[in-house]
């Protein structure tokens, strides 16, 4: 007899607006406090203390325009946030400061979340949607120099880039970008050469979110239709579809694979969070707590596996935090 799905471990309330993005920073050594960053539609970034379950700080740096991406750059003292005011802000949060140290002006008016990759100590690559409709720009941070601009070929008609993921196989190898576009295709780009290696059409509708497992060279993408698509990368750097999984209700807004690559979570437009096993995409659980679209899901990076958490932010202004499959 299967157990009923678990309840959330706790629920964070108080953002005052729909939650669009979440990011954990719990990897620090004791006595560091595990922290969850959340970006909301009212332009605030809340820093949640996961021990007291209260907001420690609220950062206001985007002129009350919605924040749709939050990432940390090596520890919880350096934060990167992306908002609808067309700015990417870099924050210094050490020792209680709340200052914006730098900002990058984006000319892209859209919702494509940027993707960060650490290439060397103190050096990061960031992929973001560029001004021109179909282009993706790669910048180096913190110098803010442009590495390259990835332009699809003329007539490809990919539409806007919807989601990005920069990764490299191991430190020192070439950074590669996976981009999901409005026409439902996922393109693999070689960043150093600036050209596309492979393109796969895996959806009929725009790709809303994707995630990639570089160890297994397998990725998953979700779109506004009912299908999840799992694809893999072969030795010739070609993408091909492995499998598709049909969902009960249409619309996926976010997908994330747990850092140990055992399970993955999807947040859907039908207010539900679904957990799947990553190996065979076996459906494991459906977590039905929220009363509106789930906008983002995120796994924590706790050192101790038993403390691992899953957080989901929704349009109903609540963040639910779950402890699920933490024992494995």
């Amino acid at each position: 007899m299967a157990l009923p799905p678990p309840d959330p471990q706790f629920v964070l309330r108080g953002t005052g607006a729909a939650v669009h993005t979440l990011h954990f920073s719990c990897g620090g050594p004791e006595p560091d406090i595990p922290v969850l960053f959340s970006g909301s539609e009212n332009g605030f970034i809340h820093v949640w203390n996961l021990r007291t379950h209260r907001v420690d700080t609220a950062l206001d740096g985007h002129g009350r325009k919605s924040v749709y991406c939050v990432e940390t750059m090596g520890g919880k003292d350096r934060l990167l946030s992306q908002g609808r005011d067309q700015r990417i802000c870099l924050w210094d949060l050490a020792e209680g400061r709340t200052a914006v140290t730098d900002s990058v002006s984006m000319e892209h008016v859209g919702f494509c979340r940027c993707s960060l990759l650490k290439v060397a100590q103190g050096r990061w690559l960031m992929a973001m949607a560029a001004r021109s409709l179909e282009e993706v720009q790669i910048l180096e941070l913190p110098s803010k120099t442009s590495v390259c601009t990835l332009k699809p070929e003329v007539g490809a008609k990919l539409g806007m880039p919807m989601c990005l993921k920069l990764w490299q196989l191991n430190c020192g190898s070439q950074p590669v970008l996976l981009a999901g576009y409005e026409d439902g295709s996922v393109v693999l780009w070689n960043v150093s050469m600036g050209k596309a290696l492979s393109r796969l059409v895996c959806h009929q509708e725009p790709v809303m979110s994707l995630d990639f497992d570089s160890e297994k060279a397998k990725g998953i993408s979700g779109s506004s239709e009912k299908v999840l698509s799992i694809w893999s990368l072969n030795e010739q750097q070609n993408l091909q579809v492995c499998k598709t999984h049909e969902l009960v209700n249409a619309g996926i807004s976010d997908i994330t694979i747990r850092p140990d690559k055992k399970i993955l979570a999807t947040g859907g437009w039908d207010h539900r969070i679904r957990i799947f096993g990553w190996k065979k995409l076996k459906p494991l659980a459906v977590l039905d707590y929220h009363t509106a679209t789930v906008h983002c899901v995120s796994f924590s990076d706790h050192r101790n596996p038993r403390d691992r958490l899953l957080a989901a932010g929704s349009k109903d202004q609540r963040i639910s935090v779950w402890s699920i499959y933490a024992q494995t």
């Binding site: 579809v241 209700n249 494991l284 659980a285 039905d288 494995t328």
Partner: protein
């Protein structure tokens, strides 16, 4: 006649005379049936025979030329055959020219399409005759484009002319099109305007098809004129006429820009998916075997039986529905409400009656917010449900809105449709829920109006009478059909009279007697249906009188759709009002109507059918009743 010897110089004028005489006496088919095939074979390769044939036809006297030419055109197997047989007759002989270019195209319209092809192909085949072709095209376009043709000539003739135009167009070559491009454009613009103004959908479609074809011919690059209409056999046939075997003809239906782009985009995608499908196959078995080795079984799934499709609940109360429809921003809920409204209204008649007028108002103004399938039908069914639940106030509201300012023609016609459907439902309760949309075009509904209610007291009285009277003969027992009260009885007047009241008062945005003759046509048809449905009701006589007067005022209206409606009004009147009441109360009006029916009304086959049936009925009425002096 068939055995003319070769090599002799003989005069065949005698033969021509005989041929002409036979043809004019109506024996074209027989003689040409034998002659034409023979001549076709003989003239195929032999020049001398061709010349003999030409002499033969040329020598036919003028008074019999028409019959002969007509016969040849009908019998010839193709344009080239006709060309061989007749040669340049049309150029040389005035009478033949008249017959071919004027009479057969403009004055007659009963000939088959194949014959048209022959004729116009014949004109196109020779340089001398091509000038005639151009002239013919100009005249055809002039006729096609004139508004009086569109209004007064029968639809069959208009179809014939359109076909002729399309065939001419298909024969034109580039330089010729160049030379008359401007004229083609002007005549097309004028013609399309008159056609679109007509009330008959068939004529509108004809106009659209011809205009599209002309436009595609005269502008080979750049956007062409494209109308939206329903394709059917007729339009398909017309379009096929444009495509001829000569290679330079342009295909009419140009696909939309979107589709072209998608087709282009699809091509690079197709090789991609081909690759992926090829490589996916070998990958799969490897993965499977791998997976069997590692097991995922340490992750136990939770119970997922609650995971079902997300459904938005529609409101359960009528007042909630009103709230959602007027104010709510939630589009999912709005959609669910629209879908559930009709059944809610029918299940809660008492609640609906409280808010009926408000609901009718909301429904009349309801516009499509999201893309709901069958929105128009859902809205109409909800309106009919409201109207049948609370007929009198809602009918009053709707009929008053029909004549108000600031409604679109579509909304006014919707009001008429709703009134008709509701009347249909009210007058026969046993068909509740299975009503088909009759289209409000012709009163061809077969209904059994229910008899008056059998209340308890009546049953008691009947039984008492039965027990007290002695019956000598019970007669054959008939199976009584299930009957219910005719609810239309009490409200028929409320539906009918307000509609007929203000038709002659023009408003700034709505002028029934002027431009909006389409709505007038629909109104007349609606009144005919309401009249028909009011059979056996109390108000039927008053309705009949009013209707006859209405018909009398409009009897000379120019639009044939309106005239058709008027005739159907008379039909329903004659069927609904009991004969004695017609003769007793409406004698003078009936006499006037009869004289009108006897005169010429004009219009196509439909109108004539109505006309004949009405006239016969009226005459029958008068004949039956011996007391009236006709």
């Amino acid at each position: 006649v068939c055995f003319i010897l070769g090599g002799l110089d003989c005069s065949i004028s005698f033969v021509s005379h005989v041929l002409g005489k036979v043809c004019v006496h109506g024996r074209q088919k027989e003689i040409l049936g034998v002659l034409v095939p023979r001549l076709t074979d003989l003239t195929k390769s032999d020049c001398i025979w061709q010349r003999i044939c030409w002499r033969l036809v040329e020598c036919v006297p003028d008074r019999w030329m028409e019959a002969v030419v007509l016969g040849f055109v009908q019998k010839a197997q193709g344009a080239d055959v006709l060309s061989r047989l007749l040669g340049n007759l049309v150029v040389k002989n005035k009478k033949a020219q008249f017959v071919v270019t004027q009479k057969m195209l403009l004055l007659q319209y009963g000939h088959a399409t194949a014959m048209l092809q022959n004729l116009l192909g014949y004109l196109a085949l020779d340089g001398l005759r091509r000038t005639l072709l151009l002239r013919v095209l100009q005249e055809l376009l002039e006729t096609w484009g004139s508004s009086s043709t569109v209004k007064h000539s029968p639809p069959e003739q208009q179809l014939y002319i359109s076909k002729a135009i399309l065939i001419c167009l298909s024969h034109l070559k580039e330089p010729e099109i160049e030379s008359c491009r401007q004229e083609l454009l002007t005549s097309m613009m004028e013609g399309v305007k008159c056609h679109l103004d007509s009330s008959l959908p068939q004529l509108r479609r004809l106009g659209m098809v011809v205009a599209e074809s002309i436009s595609s011919k005269i502008s080979t690059e750049g956007p062409v004129l494209k109308f939206e209409y329903e394709e059917d056999d007729e339009t398909a046939e017309l379009k096929s006429l444009l495509v001829q075997t000569p290679p330079f003809c342009v295909v009419t239906n140009l696909p939309d820009d979107d589709r072209i782009e998608k087709a282009d985009a699809a091509l690079p995608l197709v090789p991609e998916s081909n690759e992926t499908s090829h490589t996916a196959a070998p990958v799969m078995p490897d993965e499977e075997s791998d997976a069997e080795l590692d097991s995922d079984d340490d992750l136990i799934p939770y119970d997922m039986s609650e995971d079902k499709e997300l459904k938005i609940k529609a409101p359960v109360y009528i007042r909630d529905c009103i709230e959602v429809l007027t104010g709510s921003e939630d589009v999912d809920k709005w959609e669910a409400t629209v879908k559930a409204l009709e059944s809610l209204v029918r299940k809660n008649p008492a609640a609906t009656r409280e808010v009926s007028v408000e609901l009718a108002k909301i429904l009349l103004h309801l516009e499509e917010k999201t893309c709901v399938e069958g929105f128009v039908e859902l809205r109409q069914r909800a309106q009919v449900a409201v109207l049948t639940t609370d007929p009198i106030p809602v009918a009053k509201y709707l009929t008053s809105q029909f004549y108000s300012l600031n409604y679109s023609l579509r909304q006014r016609m919707d009001i008429l449709d709703v009134l008709v459907l509701a009347a249909q439902e009210l007058s026969c309760p046993k068909f509740h829920g299975k009503i088909e949309h009759s289209g409000a075009q012709k009163p061809c509904i077969k209904l059994l109006p229910g008899t008056d209610s059998s209340k308890d007291w009546r049953r008691i009285v009947d039984e008492r009478i039965k027990s007290k009277t002695r019956r000598f003969d019970t007669g054959q027992s008939r199976i009584e059909q299930a009957s219910g009260p005719n609810e239309f009885n009490s409200v028929a007047g409320h539906f009918f009279f307000p509609l007929i009241q203000h038709f002659d008062r023009p408003l700034t945005t709505f002028d029934l007697l002027g431009e909006d003759h389409l709505v007038l046509g629909r109104l007349v048809h609606t009144l005919a249906i309401l009249m028909y449905l009011a059979v056996n009701t109390v108000t039927v006589v008053a309705m009949g009188k009013a209707l006859l007067e209405f018909v009398w005022t409009l009897r000379f209206h120019t639009d044939s759709y309106v005239r058709q409606g008027l005739l159907s009004c008379i039909s329903s009147l004659l069927l609904s009002v009991p004969a004695e009441r017609i003769l007793a109360d409406m004698t003078e009006e009936l006499l006037e109507t009869q004289s009108w029916l006897g005169g010429k009304i004009g219009g196509g086959g439909n109108i004539r059918a109505f006309l004949v049936s009405d006239a016969v009925f009226v005459q029958h009425l008068f004949n039956c009743d011996g007391s009236v002096d006709v």
